[in-house]
Every structure is written in C-alpha cells, then in structure tokens.
C-alpha cells in the first residue's frame, strides 16, 4: 500500500506541477493582446446564439489582424498589436463560469475578456471582474439589472439592455394597430421569458390602458410541445400574441401553431424573431411583427461597416450574420475604439494609424482604457452606440421593428420603423420597471 500510495501522490504532484508551469509560460508573451472570449459552444443556446457569435469573433479578429476593417477601424489589431482569442464554453452554469473566469484571468492571463450571453452569467461575472480588476465587456446578455442594481468600474456592456425590446414592440404595435383591445403572451418560464412578458405587459398598461390581458402562457424552457398552450391562446381570441421564444422552442411553436391557424386570428409579435426568418420560411406567417433586439441583422442601417461584417462573416458561414454576430462586432469595435483613443492620448494626442502601428508594443493601462471607454461613442455595423448609462459603462442605441412579408419564397421585413434610444430606454439613475410604470417619459 505504502509504495503504491507514494507513487500515486508523486504522479499527481508531477502532473499538477506540469499543468501549473505550462500555465505560467503563457503569460510571458506581451507582443500580442490576448482576449478571452466566452460564448455558448454547447447546449440549447449554442446553435442560434453561441456558435454564430464565435464565428463572428473569429472572423472579426482575422480581419482586424489583417488590417482589413474599414475606417475608423483600419489600424491592425488593437492599435497595431495583433489579437489572440482564447475561446471558452459558456455552458455549465454560474459556478463553473466564475471558476473559468478566474482561470482565464489568472491562469491564461488574458488582457481583456469579452463574453456572456446568459444574463445569469453576466450578473455573476460582473462582481468577479471588478474584484479581479479585469476589463470585461459583456456582449450579448440583456438584463437591465447588471447596471441598474450595481455600478462597476471594470465592466462594460456594448449592447443596449433588454427593456427597449418590449417598449419598442409596444410602440410599433400601437402605430400599426392602434385599435388593439386584447393581448396575450407565450413566453418561456425563466428569467428572460418572464422579464420580456412583464415589460411588455407594463408597457401596454402605460401606453394603452384600455387594452386587457387575456392569457399569459408560460411553458417551461425547452418543452418543445405546445399543444395545450396553443389551445389556450386560440380560445383567448386575443388581438395580439406576444412571444419572446427563441431557438428550438420558437421553431417548435411555429410548426405547431401555424397549421392550427392561431396567427390568422391573432397578430403575432416575436421579440427575438429575426434569426429565424429564413429557417422558418413558410412557417413564418406574413404580417408577423419581428425584432432583432436592436438594429442588427436585417435592421442594420446600410454602411460600409455593415457590408464589411456581412462579407467577413460569410467567409466563416453559409448564412448571413444574425444579431449575436452584430453584438460581437459591437464588443470588439467598442473595445478597440476605447483602446486606440487611450493609446493616441498616450502617444501625445496626435497621429493616427501609422504612428500606432509603429509602436505595437505600446498600450494603455487599464485606468487609461477605462477613462477612454466611459461615455464613448463609436460606430458599428449596427449603427452608432453611446456608452451613456451605468455611469458610462452601458451602451444605448436605438432599435427597430418590422413586419414580415414573403417575396418570391424568401421572408423579407417591411414597414421597418426606427425608434431613437431615448424613446425606448430609461434615463440614467432610473430602474426599468419604474420608468415603464411612470409612462416612459424621456
């Protein structure tokens, strides 16, 4: 027993030492900027969100390193220093994600972290990023709680929060169908579904007080069978049905509800419907109100950056970039804009691309980067974002909704209406529910 035990312990110790020293080597390189990128690579959110986000990140990093991104992002990498991605799976829950975040920071020594699609992960990671003093950009999670319940120095979110999805949906609906009398909903029974429905319901109560709720169906996440819910919705005879379903759940709902004629009777609103337009095809009824959680995808304004993202993303995939891909672009370009603004100040406040690329090893410290990032306005394929909420750490942007129309077998979006940020997002210092209840004053 003794010998065996000693051998086993020695083996384990050796393995541990090897693993730890391997990790120590990684931190010596400083000629590259290492970015930890966290996105769902497995689980239900991987297909619609996580993997498109990873493809976009890889495409964007390749393009940045080659200096192929249009101005003002044409400097190579970040201020001349090439980028290196360290990709981590977001699956596994907050316990593992906090552990992995710590490993990214102190074992893999990444310089910045960009990541997180799940709102739960964002809420858990933000305080840890603050504790570890690591500049972290949340790219796709939506909950307004991140910056409404706390404030952070090292944490930024380059996409607007989810309040605007519901508020803009109501504004669009009332513009298109001002005579709405009844509305119901079908949303998944977890934080995103509950929040989406609550925000929609509160916004309707504020802007259309005489309309009444018929039913709120809350099937569990991933249930896939919606027979009973569809029956309840059919019986409710609602003018409008609100849904924040996504992924396989949304596809299953549409397959089951369209043949039963639910949407011939009721106007459907899909808050996050944009990524499924082409996948659903004939199962996407004409006249459905769809959003993309921002001016992403089909709602993105025409610009050289938008064209560039389409082309770059197409080198990695055989479909167009959806809204998570646009969120990734916002995160990388926002961080790059802040980095280069800080670096130019460091270089004496003058010069540009050439001066920065001549000194790739020079880079701003975290304090300078944060100062440059706070309140920054920057261009992206989705339009211009301004970091004006959460003490300069939370982006605001306008958003848009549209109505589907099949043209020659292809689902297109018509009647696109755009809403400026101040019409759909609460001002600084006000919580989203309070703002909606107060009538959404600018």
């Amino acid at each position: 027993m003794g010998k065996m035990f000693v051998r086993a312990v020695a083996g384990l110790a050796l393995a541990a030492v090897a693993a730890y020293s391997g990790a120590a080597d990684a931190q010596q390189k400083r000629d590259k900027i290492r970015i930890g990128f966290v996105t769902f690579l497995s689980g239900p959110a991987a297909g619609p969100f996580g993997v498109p986000a990873r493809l976009a990140a890889e495409a964007i990093v390749e393009q940045l390193n080659a200096g192929k991104v249009p101005a003002p992002y044409d400097t190579k990498g970040f201020g001349g220093a090439p980028l290196e991605l360290v990709v981590i799976d977001e699956a596994g829950g907050t316990t593992k994600q906090v552990s992995e975040f710590r490993s990214l920071v102190s074992r893999q020594n990444v310089d910045y972290v960009i990541g997180y699609i799940s709102s739960g992960d964002c809420l858990a990671i933000a305080p840890v990023a603050e504790e570890m003093k690591k500049v972290t950009v949340l790219f796709d999670c939506g909950t307004p709680r991140v910056f409404e319940e706390a404030s952070y120095r090292y944490v930024f979110r380059t996409r607007p929060h989810a309040t605007m999805d519901a508020v803009a949906a109501v504004r669009y609906l009332l513009e298109m169908k001002p005579a709405v009398k009844t509305y119901g909903g079908i949303n998944q029974n977890y934080a995103w579904g509950q929040d989406s429905w609550n925000d929609f319901d509160l916004s309707m109560k504020a802007l259309k007080p005489d309309a009444t709720v018929t039913t709120s169906q809350m099937p569990k996440f991933g249930s896939g069978q919606y027979g009973a819910e569809i029956s309840a919705l059919l019986q409710s005879r609602s003018d409008v049905i609100h849904s924040s379903l996504w992924g396989g759940d949304l596809e299953a709902l549409m397959m089951q509800a369209v043949p039963r004629g639910l949407f011939r009777r009721s106007q459907l609103i899909l808050v996050a419907g944009e990524p499924y337009l082409h996948r659903l095809g004939a199962n996407m009824p004409d006249g459905t109100i769809v959003g993309a959680r921002g001016t992403h995808g089909v709602f993105a304004p025409e610009s050289t950056l938008n064209t560039w993202l389409h082309k770059a993303y197409r080198t990695k995939a055989d479909h167009d970039p959806n809204y998570p891909a646009y969120s990734v672009a916002l995160a990388f370009l926002g961080l790059k804009a802040a980095f280069e603004k800080a670096k130019l100040e460091q270089l004496g406040g003058k010069g540009g691309k050439e001066e920065m690329e001549k000194a790739p090893g020079v880079g701003p410290g975290d304090e300078q980067l944060i100062a440059a990032f706070e309140g920054l306005s920057f261009d992206s394929p989705s339009g211009r974002a301004t970091m004006s909420l959460g003490k300069g750490h939370q982006a605001v942007m306008g958003t848009a909704y549209g109505t589907t129309k099949r043209v020659g077998g292809k689902v297109t979006v018509t009647n696109i209406k755009r809403y400026p940020a101040e019409a759909v997002t609460p001002p600084e210092g006000m919580s989203s529910p309070d703002w909606i209840k107060g009538g959404m004053k600018k």
Partner: protein
C-alpha cells in the same frame, strides 16, 4: 452501486482516536492551510470550490454506505446556498459564520421533515423521489421573480464571526472552507467508526438482520439522511459565498448528477476520497474547458468510463487495492 465488498465492513473496527485516516486528515489540513496563500489565485479558488463539493459528496458517501444513492443532493446544496444568499439579500447580513450556520440549519430542518417520507424508500425509488424534491425546489425558484428567477442574485460577505475580512477575503474564505471540510471529514470518520455509523454498511448488506438485532433501520437512515443534507447545505453555503452568486441551477438535476459523478469517480473507500474526487473532477473539467472548449464533455465522459472500467471501486481503490490483494 456496488462500491465496497461486504466483507470489508465486517473487519475489526479501527482503533479509536488517532488512526491513519486522522493523521492524513490533519496532514492535509496543515498542508492546505500552509500552501493556500502561495497558490495562484485560480488554483486557490478551484480548490476552494472543490473542497466545498467534497463536503457535499462526503454526505453522499454516508448514504452510499447505507446503500442509498441520492439523485437529489442538489436540493440541499441549493437550499444551503439560498439560505446564505437570502440572509444577505433580505437582511443585509454579510457574516460568513452566520450564513454557514443558516445554510446547515435550513438544509437539516428540511431533511428532518422529508426524511420521514424518504426513509421508507430504497434503491431507485429513493433516488427518483429525492430527485423529484430537488426539481420541485428548482421549479419554485424559477417561478419566483423576486429572487431573480433563473438569473438568481448576488451576495457578498464582509465579516467572519464578527472579524472583518478586508482584502484577505479570498484567503480567509479558502481557510474557512479548508477548516469546514476538515471538521466534516473528521466528524464523518469518527461517526463511521461509531456504533451508529457502522450500522450503515450493515443496513446495506442486510436490513432484516439489523432489525433482528434490535436497531431501527428507519431511524438510522433518517439520521444519516439529515447528516448528509446538513453537509450538502454547508457545501452549498460555501460555494454560494465563494462564487458570490446563487441561482436555481444549483437544484437542477444535472448538479445532483455531477455530485453522483464525483462520488463514483472517488469511491466510498475513505472520507478523503470525496475531496480527492472533487479536486480531480474540477481540475480535469477546467483544463478540458481550456484545451478543448468544443468537446470538454467528451473528456469528462471518457474519464468516467475509464474509471468505471478499470477502477470500479473509484479512484480511492488505487490506494486500497494492494492491501486487499
């Protein structure tokens, strides 16, 4: 789940007081307390979480020795974490000692009640019923918007038994976890060598005989169930505080499944096994995340398969195999 040969439990009881396991436990305590502060921060944190999980699995070890496998440990793990979190969320209490006491108390109290029902069941029925209770808690928490639904909520700590943690928070939390894990393991070791504790394997081997000898099987199972729940509660509290965030995922069946995974990986041969199992599980998982982000599940599954095929008694049987031969 055949983990120990029945003959082993019939061996002469180890001498009470200071035996080899106690020495190893004290050794591990001293080493961990000494090495903790000089470890890289990620390693210290991983050890912190692993030792907390080890404490949870230690409770499962007691049930497994009694012949019961729980697929619902997540219930008490989650209750412990939410008890600690709720103190902070609703009452602004940020003391580690108070939070941990609440974690253990809430978990144990619920186990006392549920134990009356569960102590009647064995085998798959026990496993499934315990799973059902944890999923009920999961369902309730998901429906509770006031507690953040699936997003959960954050918690932070400021003091430990009245002393401010200050900038030493991580080190002190690590030491606290080490001490809690040590006390749990030592207590479990003493309990397993006691009369009541030794009834556990007797029940697994032959319930009727135990009843004939005059012991109440249901009472022993009930007591063991409560002890295991208290340990899961403590582990949940420790993890909740270390992570700084709690969410319903902690009661989801996959979390309980991971504890079963660790228990099988480790084996029930020693009170040290759950901790070793948890550390190896977490290390393999973390490096699998790093080196193969797309296929880390495959690596964990393969590890499990190899252990089941070549070490059916768990990793701990590496150390005991020689002795048996």
């Amino acid at each position: 789940m055949q983990v120990n040969k029945p003959s082993q439990s019939l061996k002469r009881p180890p001498a009470p007081g200071v035996d080899r396991t106690t020495l190893m436990l004290v050794g591990a305590l001293v080493i961990l307390l000494a090495v903790g502060p000089i470890l890289p921060r990620w390693a210290m944190f991983m050890l912190n979480v692993s030792l907390s999980w080890g404490t949870v699995v230690l409770g499962m070890l007691l049930l497994m020795r009694t012949g019961l496998v729980s697929f619902g440990t997540g219930l008490y793990y989650c209750l412990g974490a939410y008890a600690a979190g709720a103190l902070h969320h609703f009452y602004g209490i940020a003391d580690v000692a108070v939070m941990l006491a609440a974690s253990v108390a809430v978990a144990a109290a619920v186990a006392v009640v549920l134990g009356f029902l569960l102590a009647k069941y064995r085998d798959i029925f026990f496993a499934m019923l315990s799973l059902a209770f944890s999923m009920i808690l999961y369902g309730l928490l998901v429906k509770t918007s006031a507690l953040g639904s699936t997003d959960g909520f954050g918690l932070s700590v400021k003091t430990i038994a009245g002393f401010p943690l200050g900038e030493w928070e991580r080190n002190l939390m690590f030491s606290t976890t080490v001490v809690v894990a040590f006390c749990a393991a030592l207590g479990m070791h003493r309990y397993l060598s006691s009369h009541q504790g030794r009834l556990a394997s007797a029940i697994r081997d032959n319930e009727l005989r135990v009843e004939y000898m005059g012991a109440s099987v249901r009472r022993v199972i009930h007591v063991n169930y409560v002890i295991s729940a208290a340990l899961a509660g403590a582990g949940g509290g420790l993890v909740g505080i270390a992570i700084g965030h709690v969410d319903p995922e902690m009661a989801f069946w996959t979390t309980s499944g991971e504890f079963v995974f660790i228990a099988i990986l480790a084996g029930t041969g020693s009170v040290l096994a759950p901790f070793l199992g948890a550390i190896i599980f977490e290390t393999v998982r973390s490096f699998a995340y790093e080196y193969s982000p797309n296929t880390w599940q495959l690596i964990l599954g393969t590890t499990m398969l190899l252990v089941i095929m070549f070490l059916p008694g768990g990793l701990w049987s590496i150390f005991t195999r020689r002795k048996a031969a």
